[in-house]
């Protein structure tokens, strides 16, 4: 089956994936469409390939709808060390199912950012051929929705030091560094080593800052309230601010 017929088959069905119907589709959304009456026979190699290609992380799944085929699917996924979670919790992949109005040859495709992504790599091409050569048409559609893993946040290369809300210094995280800073209420020692920065010593009473874990990601900060001191990693921010 070529791509066009694949989409014709898809268009003849009412797409039921609640994720697809969400008002603001996230740019990180990916959907795998699988036309096949026995999805459990083919799903594992396809998911493995997607993981292999670095298009997905994690191994938890949830069902948004649960037709009879979901049971078999759950069994095979469990067997391959995927873990089932309820649909209300955060799963790495969500399955929903639908019936095609007109049966079509078995096939699969991946939609990313609203466009078709060909995942018929060497491994999957044989599988796809096998599916496509089956005599019986299928009318069962499995939609697997997942999110693209976020790029690994890059460590920052420098950190800024603020006292009383004013920036007073900028240090490199690439070089070994040790320096003491005087504040109105005391003194602190800042250390940087192999991409991380932390506070080694402080004259403040509680030493919350000294027991804070080293920081390395842009936007991460260590605060010493008594000294009104702020140490923050600089760099291309993938975040605007941090809570928690």
């Amino acid at each position: 089956m070529d791509r066009r017929t694949f989409f014709k088959s898809l268009l003849s069905t009412a797409l039921v994936s609640p994720l697809l119907a969400s008002p603001k589709p996230s740019p990180l959304r990916r959907d795998l469409f699988l036309i096949e009456d026995s999805p459990h026979k083919f799903i594992i190699p396809i998911l493995e390939e997607i993981k292999e290609l670095g298009l997905m992380n994690g191994k938890s799944f949830a069902f948004l709808t649960s037709p009879a085929q979901a049971e078999e699917l759950e069994r095979i996924l469990n067997k391959n060390h995927w873990s089932y979670v309820s649909k209300n919790s955060q799963a790495d992949i969500y399955f929903s199912f639908s019936l095609l109005k007109h049966p079509a040859p078995s096939s699969f495709t991946l939609i990313k950012d609203g466009q078709i992504a060909d995942i018929r790599t060497q491994n999957l091409f044989l599988l796809w051929q096998e599916m496509n050569q089956k005599k019986n048409f299928s009318s069962f559609l499995t939609i697997a929705s997942y999110k693209k893993p976020l790029p690994n946040s890059q460590s920052g290369s420098s950190a800024s030091i603020h006292i009383d809300g004013k920036k007073i210094d900028r240090i490199s995280l690439k070089k070994n560094f040790l320096k003491s800073y005087s504040t109105k209420n005391g003194r602190l020692t800042v250390v940087a080593e192999s991409g991380k920065a932390w506070i080694q010593a402080s004259t403040c009473p509680q030493k919350v800052c000294v027991s804070s874990a080293p920081i390395s990601l842009p936007g991460e900060r260590i605060i010493c309230v008594p000294n009104r001191f702020l140490l923050e990693v600089e760099g291309p921010r993938f975040l605007d601010t941090i809570i928690g």
Binding site: N88, Q90, R221, V225, I242
Partner: protein, 309 residues
Amino acid sequence: MARKPLILFSVFFLFFISCRPRETWQTSTLFFFDTVCEINILSSPSEFEDCQKEITRIFAEIERCFSPGSEDLTSPLVQALFLKAKKVYLDSGGDFDITVGSLSRIWGFLTKAPRLPSPEEIKINLNYVGTDKLKEEKGGLKLPLHMELDWGGIAKGLAVDLASQALKKRGGSKGFINAGGDLYCWGTNPENVPWKIGIKHPRQQGFLGILHILNLGAATSGDYQRYFEREGIRYHHIFNPRTGYPAQGKQSVTVVGPEAAYCDALSTAIFVSLHPEVILKKYPDYGAIIVDKDGKIVLRGKRYSFDIL
């Protein structure tokens, strides 16, 4: 002939526009509520100066009204916040309670000298807990003998709500205020997309995930924020008002919704609650990101855009 005034008008209009002070992103860091407050807004430099003054005024006023022991129970601000606190108290079946002040004190969290109180001490002090024991009189609240208030679970949220309203009024067309984890953001971020808010991981360095939100508040309650350990057991600052001991079963709760004050109170209520969904049913515009005791992430209530890292 009719065109001339129009051209003249356009020239003046363009001149007028170009003379307006340019709006740029302004940031500032203030120290209040025992934490650092981050402000980032789009405004002109002169407006920003005005904004900073106003925030300092509001935050100082909140500190004055709600610091432990120094509450002026007749002030309109206290009475207004009490109504919100009482609403969450009732809606959560008592899981959120501002009268845990005496518990915070005997556990040493008020004086920052944490200690393990004896079971008898806790039992006695449980008599002084219960918002229903407060007397509401005409001139203000009346605190029965030995009862103490702890506004820590809601006052910062109110401060952020009041400050963000004031900034919007003073020309800050977009921005956020983050008072040590109590946040409100409005408009879009500098890249003209929703604000990207990282939520700290309760156990690891780095983040649990990223919220993409605008015109919303958010707040987190966690067992990692203020705690001490004795013989391998973690004792943190969020008490179950019924037992007098730190609430069990969760590592952190982040609540997102229209008002930071309610996010703040609800995150505490849900942290304590065994049935978060029952509470959230009463707050249809609020959603929670819960990390349970095993580190599993569970979403409850309204869904907001949240990417898990």
